[in-house]
């Protein structure tokens, strides 16, 4: 019944370490998006899931970034060998499935994970 949840709320890590960020979408939402919000910037698209598949990965900035989704529900964004420029707020959003031709369905956002790489 609740909205989109994300964990952890905040993550501080050292440069070079791997991190995993988790997203729990709204039940029944088959579409899931990850965005990144750097300081003073708007949101930047990273990856899109429809069910468990990711037909659009065009926003992932490097091969250090990967994501998966299991059971058509929970998604995990993994950043390997973190760099200081990875510091940002990572936001997850879910929506109902997109109908053919586009539907403009509202994307419901989680509160985000603030990642700080020292």
């Amino acid at each position: 019944g609740a909205g989109v949840s994300q964990s952890p709320s905040n993550k501080v890590t050292e440069k070079g370490k791997d991190v995993e960020l988790r997203c729990d979408p709204i039940s029944g939402h088959t579409a899931l998006y990850w965005y990144r919000q750097s300081l003073g910037q708007g949101l930047e698209f990273l990856i899109y899931f429809q069910g468990n598949s990711a037909p659009d990965k065009s926003g992932l900035p490097s091969d250090r970034f990967s994501a998966e989704r299991t059971g058509g529900s929970v998604s995990t964004l993994t950043i390997q060998r973190t760099q200081q420029e990875d510091s940002a707020v990572y936001l997850c959003a879910s929506s109902l499935v997109r109908l053919a031709g586009g539907s403009g369905n509202e994307q419901f956002f989680g509160p985000g994970t603030r990642l700080t790489v020292l």
């Binding site: 003073g40 708007g42 031709g101 586009g102 369905n105 509160p111």
Partner: protein
């Protein structure tokens, strides 16, 4: 290029007054949707209003309304009777349909402060 420009990094308004936030965009999409999202300090993005580009009628949602000028690619947000709770970052966005997704392209935001 698919971009959104919000030319006002910061704005302020007195409580109960009206304020307009500007947004222009550039897209090669024929069919798209436009959104205004609000982000308070809690970081939670909240949908304010949505506009379908093929509809000429401007969307309204209580105190919030838009002025959508498709030819000019302009999508401004008007907030009437501003309230202290309207203090937040406001982001303008539109959809790009690609690979089955309807990903959003966002502007850099306008920080709105409502003063008592």
């Amino acid at each position: 290029a698919q971009t959104v420009t919000q030319s006002q990094p910061e704005m302020s308004v007195q409580e109960a007054e009206t304020v307009t936030l500007s947004c222009t965009y550039d897209t090669s999409e024929n069919n798209y949707y436009l959104f205004w999202y609000k982000q308070p300090p809690s970081r939670q993005m909240i949908l304010v209003i949505r506009q379908e580009a093929y509809k000429q009628q401007n969307a309204t949602e209580n105190r919030f309304s838009v002025n959508f000028q498709k030819a000019a690619k302009s999508f401004s947000l008007k907030i009437s009777d501003s309230q202290l709770g309207d203090t937040a970052m406001y982001f303008c966005a539109f959809t790009i349909t690609q690979g089955g997704s309807e990903k959003l392209v966002f502007g850099k935001g306008t920080k709105l402060t409502v003063n008592p």
